[in-house]
Amino acid sequence: MAWYIGRRLLQMVPVFLGATLLIYAMVFALPGDPVLALGGDRGLNPAVAEQIRAEFNLDKPFIVQYLLYLQGILTFDFGTTFSGRSVRDVMAEAFPVTFQLAVMALVFEAVLGVAAGLVAGLRKGRLFDATVLLVSLVVIAVPTFVIGFVLQFALGVQWRLLPPTVGGDVSFRTLLMPALVLGAVSLAYVLRLTRTSVAENLSADFVRTATAKGLSRPRVVTVHVLRNSLIPVITFLGADLGTLMGGAIVTEGIFNINGVGGTLYRAIQQGQAPTVVSLTTVLVVVYIVANLFVDLLYAALDPRIRYA
């Protein structure tokens, strides 16, 4: 087990290097000169532009810029933005908000998705099952921003049940609606996955054997159907955490949240290589760690899987 975790952590090194290099190269290749863009229509004094270039190492060749950036990371110096803020501060502001949002969305989709999926799977072909399938299909088909704006208008503006935007006031209450919107599509997938898995396990031989032992129906369902059905769902949820963190741009935009998505979007537009690369790299690391965690959880749920 220790060997396995060690190997997986070691695998992160090449992934980290590859991801940073790739993203750095892509930002470098973006059209337009970010320094000139800073001056707007009037243009910058050539001497000032030169000075900015020197300060941000933009006058050096690509590979040198990259290596200098890597050197900084080793000392936890992620560089600075053009406006002079350190990228570390920017990340420290954006990540906690996004993380809280993603975890809330994840809990929401896991609890509701598994519960509704279980009931639908147990009553396959009945009214509840059909309704839930139809609703989940609609949720998957309708774009997130539509769901977002509709909920924002209905719950936030019309009925005033929840605050319509977040802004600077980050709390459980303000993030509740964005989390619902962010998790909605994944919820539909979790639900469908659980439903299929439950329906399949219900007809498994070992479930029949468990019934033949004299176990009551609730016990058969919780002990023998649910645990086995959760295995594929857990895999999905783990991979989804990474997606939720990086993919919250639309939701963050709708509800005016200063999270990773929005920050990243602005940084890309401005060609701020250190900010873009740093944010993305952290996302990559989060993704890898989440996947490792899922694999370990997978082994805990399914004893047939042993990492030696």
């Binding site: 060997w3 396995y4 007809s203 498994a204 031989d205 070992f206 479930v207 029949r208 054997t209 468990a210 019934t211 033949a212 032992k213 004299g214 176990l215 009551s216 129906r217 016990r219 002990v223 023998h224 645990r227 086995n228 749920l301 399914d302 004893p303 047939r304 990492y307 030696a308």
Partner: protein
């Protein structure tokens, strides 16, 4: 088994050797499944009686309704299955349409179940001990640490060595036999009055099957448990039960004392079943042998007798060894596993060589090396004098044409998206033989050869039965007119009657086309019907190699004798000569 045998009435009422009131009485039972096209009856008017402590066997092929009848008793019918008529009385109580809660109380405590496939019937995510303990807790037998102690006792009682430690393991750490023992422990945990054993050993090797059934029999006799034993194997049923119930297409066609049914079957279906049961096939060997002799004589007359012995041998395997490397977790912990260890044999043209062994004996690895699907680690395989190791791409292509496989599972070996025509035609097209018209003619001929109507061409595998699919697999193998066919457990997945038909077909084709077979099987009974020579394999090595007659009449090795003794029904000698049989 020692109960006196008394006559039965024509209606099949069992011998009253037990004298008590029946424990289980099934009267005119109808079970039906609802499908999109209406209801399909699975059991029609079945009658069955089990007395306390008695063992009754239901015999029948797959789809005969034997498992459905058993599952109807404890309301475990799959899917849309429903009891539509008749009654089930257990211990004086009508349980035909009993409520869910009453049925939960009956299951496990009154009626236990030992299911068919030990691989799929234990939940893979819970420890064995926990799964046994559940049965104790649910039926109010024991809880807490008392239950843990009882679990170990039950597992030990079911014949599991080192039970306390084993209880803490997961199903995947158990072999098939051990899992079946755990399932027996579960089935008997609450000391039910009736145990339903649904093909409890059909997924296991013969030797394991025998020890487990011996153990189960001893245990149920000691506890006085009545057993309803379900099997497709008539020999096994006769050996294990006093009373047989033969089912065919949802109906009970015959029932009575085991020996009477075997020695004087009345219903035509039972007669066919008795005639073709592989485990009872001491007579069939003669006809199979005759065919072999005929083809040998034919060959002798056409070729004269001047064939040199080397050309007579079509496949030669010498000192074959295959080592697999098992990946270890940490660096350097990889292990070598010798699947095949110094195996040598040869197949004479027009004859059948059988490789016999239990699972894990390396017999399928040998088959894959002979088919050139695996590279040997060392040793040589020569086909018609040419070493397979030296073949280039072009020669290999030509070799593939001359050696064809037939695999075990006819459900898995046919592409479900291919029509039967396309399935059989594919090898012809791959090898660019003929044009479309001549290929179609060939496919028609092949279907004739395997005794399927030509209209089958337009159908798809899922529309055919297992036996029909295996015929398709044979037709596909024959399409390229190969010299050697490697049959890897080619009849193991089939019902006895179908199995007998396929074996006869293979025999006829051999005589007709001069084919050579490498026949891989775990079933010695099948060997007797088809093989000329036998290699018995164990743990990758050949322990005994001889002609089929020698192996059956005078086995030299203890292991071979063990395998022979394990053939179900081997010691029953009631067949053919009824009068004499009863004294056996």
């Amino acid at each position: 088994m020692s109960h006196p045998i008394t006559a039965t009435t024509a209606t099949g009422a069992p011998a009253r050797s037990h004298g008590d009131t029946p424990l289980l009485q099934i009267r005119d039972l109808d079970v039906a499944f609802t499908t999109a096209n209406g209801t399909v009856p699975a059991v029609r008017g079945a009658n069955l009686t089990v007395y306390p402590g008695q063992t009754v066997a239901i015999v029948g092929e797959s789809g005969s309704g034997k498992s459905t009848t058993a599952h109807a008793i404890i309301d475990l019918l799959p899917g849309t299955g429903k009891v539509t008529g008749g009654s089930i009385v257990f211990d004086g109580q009508d349980i035909t349409h009993t409520g869910r809660r009453e049925m939960v109380a009956i299951r496990g405590k009154q009626i236990g179940l030992v299911p068919q496939d030990p691989m799929s019937n234990l939940n893979p995510v819970w420890k064995i001990g926990y799964q046994v303990k559940e049965a104790l807790k649910a039926n109010g037998i024991a809880t807490g640490s008392a239950a843990d102690a009882r679990v170990a006792e039950l597992l030990a009682e079911a014949g599991l060595p080192d039970a306390e430690r084993r209880a803490k393991q997961y199903p995947h750490e158990f072999s098939g036999g051990m899992r079946q023992r755990a399932l027996i422990a579960i089935g008997l945990a609450a000391r039910p009055k009736l145990l339903i054993a649904d093909e409890p050993t059909s997924a296991l090797d013969v030797t394991v099957q025998r020890t487990i059934l011996d153990h189960l029999q001893g245990l149920t006799e000691e506890l006085g448990t009545a057993v309803l034993f379900i099997t497709h194997d008539l020999g096994l049923a006769a050996e294990r039960a006093e009373h047989l119930v033969v089912m065919y297409r949802g109906q009970v066609v015959e029932s009575g004392p085991a020996r009477q049914i075997l020695s004087a079957p009345r219903h035509p279906y039972t007669q066919r079943l008795v005639a073709s049961a592989p485990s009872l096939a001491s007579r069939r060997i003669q006809s199979a042998k005759e065919r072999g002799l005929e083809s040998a004589e034919l060959l002798a007359t056409t070729h004269g007798d001047g064939i040199s012995p080397t050309r007579d041998v079509v496949v030669e395997v010498e000192h074959l060894t295959k080592v697999f490397t098992l990946r270890g977790g940490r660096p350097g912990s990889a292990k070598d596993f010798k699947a095949v260890d110094d195996v040598s044999f040869s197949i004479k043209r027009g004859t059948t060589m059988a490789l016999v062994g239990e699972s894990g004996s390396g017999k399928s690895t040998v088959a894959n090396v002979v088919l050139n699907l695996l590279e040997p680690t060392s040793g040589t395989v020569r086909f018609d004098g040419t070493d397979l190791a030296g073949l280039g791409a072009k020669e290999l292509f030509a070799f593939r044409r001359r050696v064809q496989p037939i695999f075990q599972n006819p459900y898995g070996s046919l592409d479900p998206m291919y029509s039967i025509f396309r399935t059989i035609e594919e090898p012809l097209r791959t090898h660019r033989i003929g044009d479309r018209r001549s290929r179609e003619k060939k496919v028609r001929e092949l279907l004739d050869m395997v005794a399927l109507p030509q209209t089958t061409m337009r159908r798809y595998p899922n529309e055919l039965s297992g036996g029909q699919r295996q015929r398709i697999a044979i037709a596909r193998a024959l399409a390229l007119e190969p010299e050697v066919i490697v049959c890897d457990e080619a009849v193991s997945a089939l019902d006895v009657l179908v199995q007998a038909q396929i074996l006869t077909l293979l025999n006829d084709l051999q005589a007709e086309l001069g084919l050579s077979y490498l026949f891989i099987t775990h079933d010695l009974a099948v060997v007797r019907q088809i093989a000329d020579e036998v290699c018995v394999m164990r743990s990758g090595r050949v322990v005994e190699a001889a002609t089929t007659d020698e192996v059956f009449d005078d086995p030299r090795e203890a292991y071979t004798r063990e395998l022979l003794a394990a053939i179900p029904g081997a010691h029953l000698e009631v067949f053919g000569t009824p009068g004499e049989g009863l004294s056996a």
